[in-house]
C-alpha cells in the first residue's frame, strides 16, 4: 500500500490564522450568505412596498363621511294618492325621494344659517349620495305612516365630498373638476364644523354590495366576500384531496411507464395553461354541457379547482419524492402495506410541501380574475347569494373581480375602494392560510 499522507504539508499552521484558501472560501461563504439575505430582503422589501402602497391607497375605503339631517317627508310627492298603500307608493321612484332629500338639505342649510359665497342654486343638492334616496324609499315603504312626518336620517355623502375629508379632493382640484365646486367643499367643511357631517368607520364597505359608477361611496365588498368564500370552499374541498390523491398515486404507486410519464407531463403542462383558457373550458363544460348556472360560485370554484390542481400536484409530488427511501423500507419491513406506509409515514413527512402547494395554489385561486370572465363572474351583482349549498348556485362576484372592476371605473374614488378590496383580499388570504402555515411549522423537521 502506498503512503497515504504524502501530500500533507509539513509545517503546522495555527487554526487562529486562516490560510489564503480558507480566507477565500470564507469570503465566498460570506458572499453567498449575503446573497441569500439580500434575496430575502429584496423579496420582503418588495412586499413591504406593495403592501404599503395598498394600505396607503386603500385605508380610506374603511372610513366614510355621513350626514345627518331631518327630512320632511312630503306627502304630495311621496304618496300622491294619499292612501298610504305601499303598493301604490312603490310607483314613486327613488328619483323623487332624491328631490325630497335635496330640499331637506337646503332647509337645513338655511336653518343653520350657513352662507357660502358663490354657492349656486342646487349646488347643495349634490352633497348627498344618490344612494340615500333608495334608503329613504325603503324606509318609507316599510312604514308608510312616516309620510308627512319629519324624520331624522343619516345618509352617505357624495364621493367627492367624502374625498375632500380624506384629502383626495382639494379646493384646487375642485376648481378644475366639473363634478364638484370649491364652494361645495366650503359648505361641507362648514357642515362638518358644526357636527352635521362626520367621517367614521365604514362597516358598509365590508357588508354592502357593489354600487354603480355614480355611487362610489356606497360600494362595498359584501357580495364579493361571500362569492370568494363560497368559491374557496369548493376549491378547498375538492382540490386538496384530489391533488394529494393524484400525487400519491403518481409518485408512489403508478408503474413507471410511458402512460405515467404522459400524465406527469400533462399535469406540468396544465400549470402553463393561461387561466383564461380554464374559463373557456368552464364555459364549455360546466355551463353549456353540464347546464350549471352562469355567474355561480360553484362553477367558479370548479374552474379554479382545475386551475389550482397542477400547483398542488407538482408541490406534493416534489415533497413526496424528497422523503428518504429508508423510511419507506422501515415501514414496509414491519409489514405495513404500501398504502399504510404512505399514509402513516411518508405523507406526514411530505406535509410541509403539500401545505406550501396548497398555500400557493389557493393564493393563486383567490386572486384570479381571468377565468371568471368567461363564466360570468366578472359581474355587477347587487343581490347577496343565499347560504350554502343553494347559495353556491346563486350569482355572486368575487374579491379579485371587484378589484378588477373598480380599477376600471371612471370615478377616481374607486381607486381607493379597489385598494380597500385588495386589503380585504389579503386579509382573507392570510386567514385562509393561517392554519396551513401553522400546520406547516408543526410538521417541519429535519432527520
Amino acid at each position: 500500500m502506498t503512503d497515504i499522507s504524502s501530500t500533507t504539508p509539513a509545517g503546522r499552521k495555527s487554526l487562529y490564522v486562516q490560510d489564503a484558501r480558507t480566507r477565500r472560501r470564507n469570503a465566498a461563504e460570506k458572499r453567498f450568505r449575503a446573497y441569500g439575505l439580500t434575496a430575502i430582503i429584496i423579496a420582503v422589501l418588495m412586499l413591504a412596498m406593495l403592501v404599503f402602497t395598498i394600505l396607503r391607497n386603500g385605508s380610506g375605503a374603511f372610513t366614510q363621511t355621513y350626514l345627518s339631517l331631518p327630512v320632511a317627508l312630503d306627502a304630495q310627492v311621496l304618496d300622491p294618492k294619499g292612501n298610504r298603500d305601499p303598493a301604490e307608493m312603490a310607483s314613486v321612484l327613488t328619483l323623487s325621494y332624491g328631490q325630497v332629500l335635496d330640499r331637506a338639505l337646503e332647509t337645513e342649510i338655511a336653518a343653520l344659517d350657513l352662507t357660502i359665497e358663490g354657492l349656486g342654486a342646487g349646488d347643495a343638492n349634490r352633497l348627498i349620495s344618490r344612494d340615500a334616496s333608495a334608503q329613504l324609499r325603503n324606509r318609507v315603504l316599510s312604514d308608510p305612516e312616516l309620510v308627512g312626518q319629519v324624520v331624522d336620517v343619516n345618509v352617505l355623502v357624495n364621493g367627492r365630498i367624502d374625498g375632500y375629508f380624506k384629502g383626495r379632493v382639494t379646493a384646487e382640484t375642485a376648481a378644475r373638476d366639473a363634478n364638484v365646486s370649491p364652494q361645495q367643499l366650503l359648505l361641507a367643511q362648514a357642515l362638518a364644523d358644526n357636527g352635521t357631517m362626520v367621517t367614521r368607520f365604514n362597516w358598509g364597505f365590508l357588508t354592502l354590495p357593489d354600487a354603480s359608477d355614480q355611487r362610489p361611496e356606497a360600494a362595498g365588498v359584501g357580495v364579493a366576500i361571500l362569492g370568494s368564500l363560497y368559491m374557496m370552499l369548493v376549491v378547498l374541498v375538492l382540490s386538496v384531496p384530489i391533488g394529494v390523491g393524484a400525487s400519491i398515486y403518481l409518485q408512489e404507486f403508478a408503474p413507471k411507464n410511458r402512460w405515467t410519464d404522459m400524465i406527469e407531463v400533462n399535469i406540468a403542462n396544465l400549470a402553463a395553461v393561461p387561466s383564461i383558457v380554464f374559463g373557456i373550458l368552464g364555459l364549455a363544460v360546466f355551463i353549456n354541457f353540464a347546464g350549471l348556472p352562469a355567474s355561480a360560485p360553484i362553477v367558479g370554484g370548479l374552474v379554479l379547482t382545475l386551475m389550482t390542481l397542477p400547483t398542488i400536484i407538482i408541490a406534493t409530488r416534489a415533497a413526496l419524492q424528497s422523503v428518504p427511501p429508508s423510511i419507506r423500507d422501515a415501514a414496509l419491513g414491519v409489514g405495513a402495506s404500501r398504502m399504510q406506509t404512505v399514509f402513516h409515514h411518508v405523507l406526514p413527512l411530505a406535509m410541509p410541501g403539500i401545505l406550501t402547494g396548497t398555500i400557493l395554489g389557493l393564493a393563486q385561486a383567490l386572486g384570479e380574475t381571468a377565468p371568471l370572465l368567461l363564466i360570468g363572474m366578472v359581474a355587477f351583482v347587487r343581490e347577496y347569494p343565499a347560504a350554502p349549498p343553494e347559495g353556491l348556485f346563486d350569482p355572486a362576484s368575487a374579491l379579485p373581480v371587484q378589484v378588477y372592476n373598480w380599477t376600471q371605473r371612471a370615478d377616481p374614488a374607486f381607486v381607493e375602494r379597489a385598494s380597500g378590496a385588495i386589503i380585504v383580499l389579503l386579509i382573507f388570504l392570510l386567514c385562509m392560510n393561517l392554519l396551513a402555515i401553522y400546520l406547516r411549522r408543526k410538521f417541519e423537521r429535519r432527520w
Binding site: 328619483l95 355567474s295 371612471a410
Partner: protein, 320 residues
C-alpha cells in the same frame, strides 16, 4: 324553478350605464338587480347566441351593431328573435394632462401624426413627424405620443374611421394611396398606424390610458366622454374641428366622433325570465335615458329618437 335575476353580459363601454340602470331597477322594482357581466361585446354576443334557456343570458350589451354573421350564428343556435335597442351615443374625446398644453385638433392632424405612411409632395413616405408642431404649426410644440385604444376596442374602429380615415381623405392622401395601391390596399394603408412607439395601443381600459398619461405627461389619450367628465380635474379635452365635445354637441351631431350603443334582448326570454322586458323598458325610459336622466348626467349622449326606441321595446319589435 327559474332564475331570479335578469342576466346581462357584454361591452365594457355599456357596462357603467347598465350598472346605473340595474341599480335603480333593483331599488324600484321587485325583480332584484340584474347581474351585469363585462367581458366585451364579443363575449357578450357569443354568450347571447349560445341558445335559449335558463343558463344563457337574456340581454347582450354591445358597443357596436350585431354583425350578420353573428345573427346567423344566433339563428343556428335557436336564438331567432332578437330585439335591438339603441340606448344612446358614446362620445369619443381626445384629452391630455391638465397641466400641459391645450390642443385644437382636426382629423388631418391625427392622420399626419400617426399614420404609418403619409404623402409629402405627392410621394408616399414613411411618417417621421416627431412633434405636433411639425404636423401643424398651430399646434403646441410637444412630442407626439398618442395612447389609442387597442384593436380589441370598439372605440378603435370609430377612431380609425372617423378620425384617421377622415384625415386621410381630408389631406388628400387617400387619393394618392388608392392610385398607388388600389382601392382596398389604399384604404388599409390609410388606417395603418406607425409602430415606432409614437402611437401606443392600449389594450386595457381608460384607467390605464389615464395612468399612462400620469407617467408620461406628454401623452394624449383617447377617452370616452363620460370617463373624461369624471376626471376633469386631471384631464383637459381637445377640440375636434373646432367643436368642444359635450353631450349637447354630440347629440346635435356637431362633434363628429361618436358611436351608438346597443342592448340586444332575447325575445324568447320575455315572460320566461321575470323582469327582462321591464328592465329593457326601464333602461330606455325618459327618466333614465332622457337628456335629464342619470345616464346623461354620467355622460351618455341621449338618443334624439328615444321615443321611437321606447315604442319598439314596448311592442317587442325584433330585428328585420
Amino acid at each position: 324553478q327559474s332564475r331570479d335575476q335578469v342576466q346581462v353580459a357584454g361591452s365594457s363601454t355599456v357596462l357603467p350605464y347598465a350598472t346605473i340602470v340595474a341599480e335603480l331597477f333593483g331599488e324600484n322594482f321587485d325583480f332584484g338587480s340584474p347581474v351585469i357581466e363585462s367581458g366585451g361585446s364579443s363575449t357578450g354576443l357569443r354568450r347571447f347566441c349560445e341558445g335559449v334557456g335558463e343558463n344563457t343570458i337574456d340581454i347582450a350589451n354591445s358597443s357596436r351593431e350585431i354583425r350578420d354573421t353573428e345573427v346567423a350564428e344566433c339563428a343556428a343556435n335557436g336564438v331567432e328573435e332578437i330585439m335591438e335597442v339603441r340606448i344612446g351615443y358614446d362620445g369619443i374625446v381626445f384629452a391630455s394632462a391638465q397641466t400641459g398644453n391645450s390642443f385644437e385638433f382636426t382629423p388631418s392632424d391625427w392622420f399626419n401624426a400617426l399614420s404609418a405612411k403619409v404623402v409629402a409632395d405627392g410621394a408616399i413616405v414613411d411618417n417621421t413627424a416627431a412633434n405636433w408642431s411639425e404636423v401643424n404649426p398651430d399646434l403646441a410644440d410637444q412630442e407626439i405620443l398618442a395612447f389609442v385604444p387597442g384593436t380589441r376596442h370598439g372605440t378603435r374602429e370609430v377612431f380609425d374611421e372617423k378620425v384617421i380615415m377622415q384625415g386621410c381623405e381630408d389631406t388628400g392622401a387617400m387619393e394618392v394611396f388608392v392610385a398607388e395601391m388600389g382601392e382596398d390596399e389604399g384604404e388599409a394603408a390609410c388606417m395603418t398606424l406607425r409602430t415606432d412607439g409614437r402611437s401606443v395601443d392600449i389594450d386595457g381600459d381608460y384607467t390605464e390610458t389615464l395612468a399612462r398619461i400620469g407617467s408620461s405627461p406628454n401623452g394624449i389619450g383617447v377617452f370616452g366622454l363620460s370617463f373624461y367628465e369624471n376626471n376633469t380635474d386631471t384631464l383637459q379635452v381637445a377640440t375636434m374641428g373646432g367643436v368642444t365635445p359635450s353631450t349637447e354637441t354630440i347629440a346635435s351631431g356637431e362633434y363628429p366622433v361618436s358611436r351608438p350603443l346597443f342592448i340586444y334582448v332575447k325575445k324568447a326570454h320575455i315572460g320566461v325570465i321575470p323582469g327582462v322586458k321591464e328592465f329593457a323598458e326601464f333602461f330606455v325610459s325618459d327618466a333614465i335615458a332622457g337628456p335629464d336622466g342619470p345616464l346623461a348626467a354620467y355622460g351618455l349622449v341621449s338618443d334624439p329618437e328615444l321615443a321611437s326606441v321606447q315604442q319598439a321595446v314596448a311592442d317587442e319589435v325584433t330585428m328585420q
